[in-house]
Point group: C2
Chain length 589, copies 2
Amino acid sequence: MALKARVLYDFNSENPGEVSVNENEIVTLYSEQDIEGWLEGCNSKGERGLFPASYVEVVKNDTGSTLNNNNSSAGDNHQGSRYSNIPTEGFGDPSSSTVQNQTDNLSKTPATSPGFPPPVPVHQQHIYQDASHGSDEDWDDDWDDSSTVADEPGVAGGRYQRDFDGNGASIYRVSTSSMSRGGNAKSSATVSRNLNRFSTFVKSGGEAFVLGEAAGFVKDGDKICVVMGQYGPEWQENPYPFTCTIDDPTKQTKFKGMKSYIAYKLTPTHTPRQVNRRYKHFDWLYARLVEKFPVISVPHIPEKQATGRFEEDFISKRRRGLIWWMNHMTSHPVLSKCDVFQHFLTSNSTDEKAWKLGKRKAEKDEMVGANFFLTIATPSGPPLDLVEVESKIDGFKAFTKKMDDSVVQVNTTTNEFARKQITWFKKEYQKVGQSFKVLGNAFELDQQTYSVGLNQAIAYTGEAYEAIGDYFAEQPRLDVDPLMDLLQLYQGHLTNYPDIIHVQKGALTKVKESQKHVEEGKMDAPQAEGVKDRCNIISFATLAEIQHFHQIRVRDFKAQMQQYLTAQIGFFQKITGKLEEALQKYDNA
Amino acid sequence: MALKARVLYDFNSENPGEVSVNENEIVTLYSEQDIEGWLEGCNSKGERGLFPASYVEVVKNDTGSTLNNNNSSAGDNHQGSRYSNIPTEGFGDPSSSTVQNQTDNLSKTPATSPGFPPPVPVHQQHIYQDASHGSDEDWDDDWDDSSTVADEPGVAGGRYQRDFDGNGASIYRVSTSSMSRGGNAKSSATVSRNLNRFSTFVKSGGEAFVLGEAAGFVKDGDKICVVMGQYGPEWQENPYPFTCTIDDPTKQTKFKGMKSYIAYKLTPTHTPRQVNRRYKHFDWLYARLVEKFPVISVPHIPEKQATGRFEEDFISKRRRGLIWWMNHMTSHPVLSKCDVFQHFLTSNSTDEKAWKLGKRKAEKDEMVGANFFLTIATPSGPPLDLVEVESKIDGFKAFTKKMDDSVVQVNTTTNEFARKQITWFKKEYQKVGQSFKVLGNAFELDQQTYSVGLNQAIAYTGEAYEAIGDYFAEQPRLDVDPLMDLLQLYQGHLTNYPDIIHVQKGALTKVKESQKHVEEGKMDAPQAEGVKDRCNIISFATLAEIQHFHQIRVRDFKAQMQQYLTAQIGFFQKITGKLEEALQKYDNA
């Protein structure tokens, strides 16, 4: 029986050897095994060539009904969400069709359909940014001021920064650095490597670490401790907690006024100094953090924007986003302590030399990716139960999926609610106000002295309703906007988690594989034990991060819902007060 | 020069001898003098025949620009309102084109255009209903229960009840009764009669009275006194004021359940007895009052409705309308005291014979129409200054016009506001509530004990917003509906005033005419003095009625605006309370 696959997204061939395929088309495969993320096959027109393996789904059974079953089990009605591509059973054999493959053909991302984007392969959503890992010479280039900004942190699927050289060969520094850096790493040939070089598990360094390929010297100060808390593994708290305010975004110029930018004044509580930082500094820091911490959800910085960067609304919104970001950074036991963040917070902004020194040091940090896991110290005691870990991770996966859906819904609804308050609601109350004013005006024609009070009261009532219309229009700024800032931050976190779960699941799969290999006599027990130990470290780190996420989530949503309700109560009290004023006008009417 | 006229409304000929004309068409008239309300002329196609005189406007100057000037002076931007047809300079020579003529062709009323109805001739708006002036045998006919009810009290232009006999000849009982009843009336040939038999001035009996044709024996108890109050002439207050509640509309049946109707329980404060009255009793009473009182604004009873008469909403709305109506009746110094109303309030509803006796007496009342003016006693002192009266009447006319426009606007706006609260606003708040509930549900998946409180608080917040949506939907019943009931009642009054003003203006015109006739030696001075005296009575009555209108208007609008604002304040407080409850749920979250 010929091997068939169903095409998930349109793919247009751009190079010789490729063949175009269309969504829902059934293609014939020459082999189920992909070659560097490409499959060879024949489309329905009989044209033969290569297409991206991740763009098709192998049809196990040659009937359409099975195809549908596959679909429905993949994600039910949430099929279109960003969570629909996480395999429910972890990562099986690399040759299995459920493994998503990424190609260097990333510019050919599927076109998004209205409403929901089509399912985006997981590893395409969150690729560690290292394009800005440039030289100091690049640093002064005002790319933030350029109008050709295309990538937007915080938007799934849009953050993939390719780093092709002129010949089209791709270099993914992060995915290779952990191996090249650990010069004494030993290849473990008996545990199969994931052939998908674009898998997050591979790129994050998770695979290299599990396979024992990571190596580096961990200084005591670099140690990151996981402890057993009341609710399971958690990050050891920062013994020197601090916060940092972000104030006074001011427009500054350089090159004798040729270039303008906005500088934010940062005031950390644990240093005596304020520092000025620009958006591009935040962006650089973000890239360093993402590169360094594979299973930590680094909060997304506010989106880039090409135009209107000096407009008050935009500056205010960005500042609010940065404040939330800073809050999450300083609240995180690991992120808050890390060197690059401390450098960012404390390096004197007028001492160019000190800044560049710390910057270069951060960019040359060896304890990133796979090596990050080397720095983790797990609590003494027995290792975590693998089945329990898997169950917890699956539960969290289901949680993030549902939370993401609901955050999207709250976001859409409150956004629409805000829009309607500013337009419809305002208009309705103002129309009522105007009609009362017209009535008051008409009554003024009566020339009866005994109705002067009434006429004035009605006119005041009209003004009160006009004012209430304005209140409705002003209110979203005070309650919906802050709520949406929070939701946006959490949407960023929820975009991170599929990758984090992916790394953990990849590690678990390796443990299972190695156990099977031991049973089959292909691997010796100590080697398999090493895989298991390293997977245990990843599990501890992942569960600690999940615990941290739940804790800040509860803290943040509680605070924000309180703030929202308090603002709403104030709003309705303001309306009541205005109406009471109007009512009083009738007392002597 | 040929006599031209511009067509105001489309008219389609339905009988031989008539000719169709279209709005804005310029037609040639053979004579400016109408024949029984019809003009003979030639339309723009050259077809010759009759068309209703009231459907055209004579063009004095044969240029289009003058036509436009005429238009703009007639009513500015309010041309379409029901007030646009009141001649600004009173009533001139009956042969003048400004006198509106009414034909027996009333079924051919102009089609209404969307938005505003076209100007309806004044006397078409408020014609005294005497079609129900039927025999006792008719009384038990359940015409109120018939589904063929077409006329609706309270709607301008729709209240004209024709009383044709089988041959199509029309009898307007009111317009002739005052003359035929006053058998000893003397015709005053030297003051010209208004040839328009359909003029309110004529039909109300105003003309007959001014010309000295009314005569009747006025009993002391029938005397209606106008006194000079603080603000000018006013009705002498009812020395025995009372009120009357309307409760418990209940469905009753007769003819062994074959016929059903709603009975209202009336409880006047000045009698020991409750009485049951049906809508048709109110309708009969209304017709009597309208017939009897030419310059008193009789409050309109709620509209008839062919279907859904037993539905709760309709019964409730009708009851509210009847309560307002009753309030205006008992508040009116003249209406509250009159025999027919007292009969209605006090006649034992189980004593059929007593009821019929009073009913027949009311229907045979001689002091109606022209004779009503005989019952008016003016205050001692000099007569009113004609110029001042005219100025006051003009001022009131302008006032009612503007009040009518603004009442229409408030009515439209609040009606639309209510509709949007029931639909849009409810939906928006419920969508917000649902999205919070979905978020709360998602959070419940986290299985963290420390977030149970938050999850419950968010779920409660969702419910609170859903409840607020319901509050919005329920609120109009509590504030907009009562306001609209009031507006509807006043729209009825404002429909009455053009006729009242018309009568007064007609009387003033007669005075001017008679003065001119005296100067020309065509009339002797005492006769002219009589016209002036009788006009003075009408002026006193009209100004007293206007004063009463202003006073109850100020009272009613003050009370209703207070009630509206109080309900609105309660509404927003209820919302605030609900949100405060929700906020408290976070205290222990």
